[in-house]
Structure formats: structure tokens, C-alpha cells
Amino acid sequence: MITAHAVGKRFGDFVALHDVDLEVPDGSLTALLGPSGSGKSTLLRVIAGLETPDTGRVEIHGRDVTHVPPQRRGIGFVFQHYAAFKHMTVRENVAFGLRIRRRPRAETTARVDELLGIVGLSGYAARYPSQLSGGQRQRMALARALAVAPKVLLLDEPFGALDANVRAELREWLRRLHEQVDVTTVLVTHDQEEAMAIADRIVVVNDGRVEQVGSAREIYDRPANHFVMGFLGPVTRLGGSLVRPHDVAIAGGLNGSGNGDGRRATVLRVVHLGFEVRVELELDDGEQASVQLARGEADQLAVEVGDTVAVRATRAPALSA
């Protein structure tokens, strides 16, 4: 378990963390999710010991580490821009932690070979970081962090500098790795899709505070406040409540007298986005709303600009506006 008790941190006048409390259960893969400048990276760096908090306490496995330097916290850390040791080969990079610990040479070699195998860089041991792609460098950085078998693995936007397809691939790979290795993982990201895809617990951070903690499903379906709701996905306003655009149903054929349930609305725009269709509406009270339909559904309804339709929420609204 990693615990932060009332951790506060300022940089000059800027308050990065307002007395943050956090608990990360052993063996979990927890994502710290928030916009840039929210304090999520600072929180991770405080856990790592790369920043010292102004107030509060950090514990790792019950030990107060608030004033313990990073090298004695038993952590692995992965940086957004890899922090590869440029003057060392891939093998020397991965072996670094073991050599600092003066492990026997044979053990180090065997361990490095094993890790290079796990991260798929076996053929690259003699290369220098400048000869690797971004994805390969980040896998090397992961192997380097894991070589000393840390109990805690901390990743600061690890896929942020990578192409979209490499990012998706590494994300899956990290998830599998987390299941294979006995480690508590904390990942910082500003990408809600990444957090939901990979983490079993999400901590939403905003403006130096923790807004909500829960599984992807919990925070998506039952957001604690407007910020969490808006940060996790698109939101539309419908009759005084906030709902997800895909939680709104449309019934057509109301060009005559109004019958059936729901509110009347006029179609302003229909946007085809491939697998989904977005319908922009103006409600009878003049407010605008947006509805997301699956393509089949939209084809069946055949709504067109100017049609009058009935709309209603298909789920209880998460929040009132």
C-alpha cells in the first residue's frame, strides 16, 4: 500500500497540491488522471521522492518515506521522455541498477537478458539509445526500472511522447506485464481513454485536489461532480440534467401533433462519423443538445435536418446541471 496523507506542495505562488490524501492498494494498477497542470505528476514525483512535499506524509508499505531519498525507496520510475542514459548501451542501461547494487556479474547478465527478452529488445543489447525508436527506448526504460525488482513501479505519462498506434500497443503490453510481475503500479496520464483501458483504479486529479477515486465504470457512470463527468467523456444538457450523448434516445415522426414521452426538439445538424452519428438538436426551450447514435439506429430513424423529434434520457441523469 502506498499512502499520501495531506500532502501539500507549492512552487512559488503556484499551489500544485492542496493537502492531497491518496491510497494505492498493493498489486493494483492505479491511474492518476487529470489535465496538464493538475498536480498529478507532482503527486507521483512526491511518491518517488523526486520532489519533497511542503506538508504531509508519504508511506510505502507502512514505512514513512517522506524524507527518504529516491534511491532508498525501492521504487522504479519511468519518465515521459525516457531519460535513457545516452552514453550507455541498452545492456548497460538495463544493468545500471544491478551494478549500483554490486550484484555478481553472472547474475546481472542473466537478469538483463531475461528483461530484454520480456520487453522484446533481445537483439538490441549492444545498441545505443539514439539508435532506437521512441517505443523501443521506453521499453528499455521499463526494463531498466524493473531490473531491480521494485515493489512499486511509477510511470509519468510513459506513452505521452509516442505515436498513437505504438501507444495503444505498449498500453496493452504494460497491462499484461503488470499481471505477470508482482508490483504495485501507479501511472500518470491526461488521456481518459488510456486510464480506462489500462487501470483498475482511477484517481481523478484536478487543480491540486483529488476529485474522485473509483473503477473506470464507477467514475464514468457516477461522476462525483461536473469536472469528472466532463473530463471522462462528452456531456450534453437535457432538461436541467447532464447526460452522456449516447444515453439519449430519439423518437421520430412527430411532425404532426406531439404524442409519446420525451421533449420535443428540432434537428439542426446530422454528422456522420463512421460508426457513430451525431445529431445536434434544439430543444423546445431553445437550448441545444447533442445525441450520439449507432449507425444502424440512425439509419432506421432516418432523421433529417428540420425534423421534429422527441428526445429522452435512457439512463437516470448522472448529475443535475
Binding site: A48, G49, L50, P69, P70, Q71, R72, R73, I75, G76, F77, F79, H81, A83, A84, F85, K86, H87, F96, G97, I100, R101, Y128, P129, S130, Q131, A141, R144, A145, V148
Partner: protein, 264 residues
Amino acid sequence: MTVARPWRLGLRALALGYLGALLLVPVGLVFYRTFEGGLGEVWASVTTPAAVSAFWLTVTVAAIAVPLNTVLGVVCALALVRGRSRGRALLDLVIDLPFAVSPIVIGLSLILVFGAGGWIELPFQVIFSTPGIVLATTFVSLPFVVREVVPVLREVGEEQEQAAATLGASRWQAFWRITLPSIRFGIVYGTILSVARAIGEFGAVSVVSGRISGETETLTLLVEKRFNNFDLAGAYAASTVLALIAVATLLALTLVKPRQETSS
């Protein structure tokens, strides 16, 4: 930016002409004049007791001043770039003093501080003796390593050191294994400049040394003395020795070849 071909050639000719007129022609002439009278004469002129003493004094002074400035220079650069103390702005200013102040003034101020009746009395003689020459040389060549290493340190950034810390390295280990290898080319280049300045220093050394032939006379002082005594051939020969020391340093340090990581 693209420049038309005639312009490009013109600029190139100008740059080479400038370099040639200011540097290559005069230095080439010195070499030419040196060997004009034959090798035997040159050899005789650079092996007089005064010349041999001047050679060793110059080498000794550089051998003390340059390593001192290299170590202190790296420490100062680290303090400037990685330090958090408020004194950094002041340190930044002070380091450039030797660039800003004339070497003669530096020499005179050293006499005020360490000379007879000066502020500081040491049990051994400083002024008109080797320690004074070392002090003056150290002072004038102080900024080179700092000024070369600071931008490299900024460029390299702190992340690799932090990564080393999370992997279990102490500050000292991170410095030796990560920081030092990343800044080594800055150090090498700064050292080359320091050596050039140290062996070539004239003004400050001329004030504090007392110019005792065979004792406190460096090669540059010997060149000037011979020149003033109308011994032109001797002055040229001593100049050539100075130039050869510089070339030897340059060669020795370029042997620290860039490795793979800077090639791409």
C-alpha cells in the same frame, strides 16, 4: 535560408581570407622565420638554460592551474545550473571577472593582496615566485571550463540523474556514472581553451613574476625579452615551442573521441 551561389562563394572567400590574414599567415611566418637559419641554430636557442627553465615553468604552471580550474569549473557549473541557492547570480557575475578585467590589473591586485606588506602574509613567498605565477594563471583561465560546461549541463537536463537516483544511485554515483560522461566534451573543450590561455598568459604573469631569468621567467616572458634584446631568431624559436605545446594539448585531448551516441 538559401543564399545565391555567388554570394555563398563570396562569403566563404571572406571568411577564409579573414582567418588567413589574421591567423594563418602570421603564425606561418613565425614558423618560417624560426627555421630559416637551420635546425641547429633553433635547437641551440631553445636549449639554453633560460629557455629550458622557462619551458618547464610554463608547463608546471599550466599543469597546476588547468586541473585546478577544471575541477573547480565543473563544481561551479554544477552550482550554477543545478544549485538552488540565492548566490547563483553573484557567482555567475564573478566567474566572468577574469574576462572583463585586464590581466595587468589582475596582476597588480595580486601584488596588493599577497605582496610585501599586503593583506595576506603566507609563510612562503608568493609574489616574484612560482606560487604567484600559478595564482595569476589560475585566475585568468578560470572562466573557460565553467562557460563550456554550463550550456552542456543545461542541455543534458536533470532527468538522467533523477533516473539514476530512482535506480539506487547516490548523488556521488550519479555524478560519476551519469553527469560526468554526459558533459565530458564540454570539459575537454574548456580544458583546451584553459591550456591555451594558461601557457599564453603574459600580462598578469609579467607583473607578478619579477622576470628572474632561469627562475620566474615563463616562455611568453622569454619571447618578449629576446624580442626586446634584438634576438629575433631566439624569440621566434621560443614562440614555436609555445605553439607546439598548444598543438600537443589539442592532439592529446582530441584522442578522447566521441563515441557512438553523438554520431546520430
